[in-house]
């Protein structure tokens, strides 16, 4: 074999090897990135299930890791290292960030180059639904206030009396649709504001858009003043 022939054979071998390896490498990288994306969806599933079971309050960052407390039958592995997929910015790991009020999150999966972003949060419809529930509850409170006045010679309750304890078990006290606890005077979402000088009152509820319109005495019920309610 001449030197020329040897060089030609080696060059051909390199070309063949490059042709075989380079596409498979690209394919392998792509496949691994796909695996990382799939793992991201898996993690998102666990995060979503946690949030949905808790009125859309999503888990803190310290929980989003293996053994962190999320219910996770299968925790994905980092296909680049073979170790458990964990928080971090290296490829095959992820970054989880909780949004304001714990009602949204962002999960970034780090790929071989670039990243794959997943987001989640309280559905938009639920916000308006809770506002509707808050307004409905305010109407119920208004009726309770009127009943109180009917049983107390037309005198409306003091602010301190606007509690389920003061009204008693005969009244189904509305719950704050955001917290699941009885509605209370306050400034948080779903809380209400009540002021009274005894002869009148103002009742409002805090919505996502701000304070609702103020409710006052129901004039049509005024003729019942002084008559005990049921």
């Amino acid at each position: 074999m001449t030197r020329r022939t040897t060089i030609l054979v080696l060059s051909l071998a390199v070309l063949l090897l490059a042709g075989a390896v380079l596409p498979s490498r690209a394919s392998a990288v792509s496949f691994v990135d796909q695996q990382v994306k799939a793992s991201g969806l898996l993690l998102q599933n666990y995060i979503n299930r946690y949030g949905q079971a808790r009125e859309f309050a999503y888990p803190p960052a310290k929980m989003v890791k293996k053994g962190g407390g999320l219910t996770a039958p299968i925790w994905p592995a980092n296909p680049w290292t073979g170790k458990v997929m964990a928080p971090g910015k290296s490829r095959g790991n992820y970054t989880y960030t909780l949004g304001a009020g714990d009602t949204s999150y962002r999960l970034v999966m780090h790929l071989s180059t670039g990243s794959y972003k997943l987001t989640g949060g309280m559905p938009r419809w639920l916000k308006s639904e809770r506002d509707t529930a808050s307004k409905q509850n305010l109407l119920l409170l208004q009726r309770y206030v009127e009943e109180y006045a009917a049983a107390h010679a037309g005198s409306y309750p003091a602010a301190a009396e606007m509690t389920p304890e003061a009204f008693g078990a005969g009244y189904v006290w509305p719950k704050n649709p955001r917290t699941g606890f009885p509605m209370a005077v306050g400034t948080g979402l779903g809380d209400f504001s009540y002021t009274s000088d005894g002869g009148g009152y103002t009742l409002k509820v805090k919505l996502t858009t701000g304070w609702s319109a103020a409710f006052g005495p129901i004039s049509v019920l005024g003729r019942l003043t002084g008559a005990p309610g049921d």
């Binding site: 796909q34 969806l41 898996l42 599933n45 079971a53 073979g82 119920l140 509305p174 049509v220 008559a227």
Partner: protein, 339 residues
């Protein structure tokens, strides 16, 4: 020259192969594990779709590649293709309940299956149930308001609706919404809906909310339980008793003026022959209109009998009052005198 060529070739081979080797996963999961992960990931897409649609989960037809709102779709680990419905290895089957509140997803492994279930979170059902109770209580207040404005008589079923007489009262502009369908609460048998029944004399009612997690939530009301309405009812009953005596007097007067004949049933009404002779016809205190024949409180039943006897039953809140008796007959005309 040859040595240089061999060295360059060796470097080229290393340069080509090393990154490829580094790019390869260190530890590949088994296909069955990957399939489980794919099923879990698919469940995530289904859950996401359900949460976006009021916790109504997608139909069977839409759980397939391109059917859910996702740019990424889990893979069949054996073929590398996108996961598709089927009953063989690397496929899945998805089913959803009729009301779309729960689903089941089964993935087919190499020798076995993995099944996951999902549905509307219990916390949401609990919240919806409570919201239904709040809505029902608001309706109850509207019904009580109606009764106060209608002499203590509760509304008939058809009136208990947002567009019915109860919902159209002043101060009742907002009708509670059913959290399950986001429409007005209606009288139906499904969750978040309610039923309403009222007694024949409309003095008592029962409201039932159909809940998801518990049996029906029941609220009852009766005029008798309300001191104010109880007092009103007793006053109305006293008025009705007196009205019954007045009507009885009209029957007697008719008998005297008609040779001992009693008025027929149709005559004893405000618009009948007796009523024509007595413009000051007694009023039903419950409705404010002229008393009429019927079986409800405020109405009466009149049955003429033989020999001047008649039955006149006035229906009160507290039962019936019998105002009937025997009508007086005109004195017999004096017979011919004895010679």
């Amino acid at each position: 020259m040859l040595r240089h060529a061999i060295a360059i070739t060796a470097v080229a081979v290393v340069a080509i192969c090393l990154p490829a080797a580094v790019a390869t996963p260190v530890q590949a999961a088994s296909p069955n594990t990957e399939m489980r992960e794919s099923i879990m990931a698919l469940r995530g897409l289904i859950d996401r779709a359900g949460a976006a649609r009021y916790f109504q989960y997608p139909s069977r037809a839409s759980v397939r590649p391109g059917g859910l709102d996702s740019t990424w779709w889990p893979r069949d680990p054996w073929t590398g293709a996108r996961l598709t419905p089927g009953s063989g290895r690397g496929h899945y089957q998805y089913s959803v309940t009729t009301n779309k509140r729960r689903y089941r997803l089964t993935g087919y492994l190499d020798g076995g299956v993995v099944t996951v279930r999902g549905g509307m979170p219990r916390s949401m059902k609990l919240a919806y149930d409570h919201r239904g109770e709040e809505g029902l209580n608001l309706i109850r207040h509207y019904i009580e308001q109606y009764a106060r404005a209608h002499g203590g008589r509760y509304p008939v079923g058809a009136d208990v609706a947002g567009d019915g007489a109860v919902g159209k009262q002043p101060g009742c502009g907002y009708w509670p919404s059913n959290p399950w369908d986001h429409a007005d609460m209606e009288k139906r048998s499904d969750r978040g809906s309610f039923s309403y029944t009222v007694s024949a004399d409309r003095s008592a009612y029962t409201l039932r909310l159909h809940r998801a997690l518990k049996s029906d939530y029941v609220q009852r009301g009766a005029a008798a339980t309300n001191p104010w309405l109880r007092l009103l009812a007793s006053l109305e009953d006293e008025i009705l008793r007196r009205s019954g005596r007045i009507l009885s007097g009209y029957v007697g007067q008719w008998s005297l003026q008609h040779g001992g004949e009693l008025p027929q049933t149709a005559d004893l009404t405000a618009g009948g022959a007796v009523g024509a002779a007595h413009p000051d016809w007694p009023q039903d205190p419950l409705t404010g209109s002229a008393m009429g024949q019927g079986t409800m409180p405020g109405a009466y039943t009149y049955i003429p009998g033989a020999a001047g006897a008649f039955t006149l039953t006035v229906h009160l809140h507290s039962g019936d009052f019998e105002a009937g008796g025997t009508a007086p007959a005109p004195a017999a005309a004096p017979g011919p005198s004895e010679p």
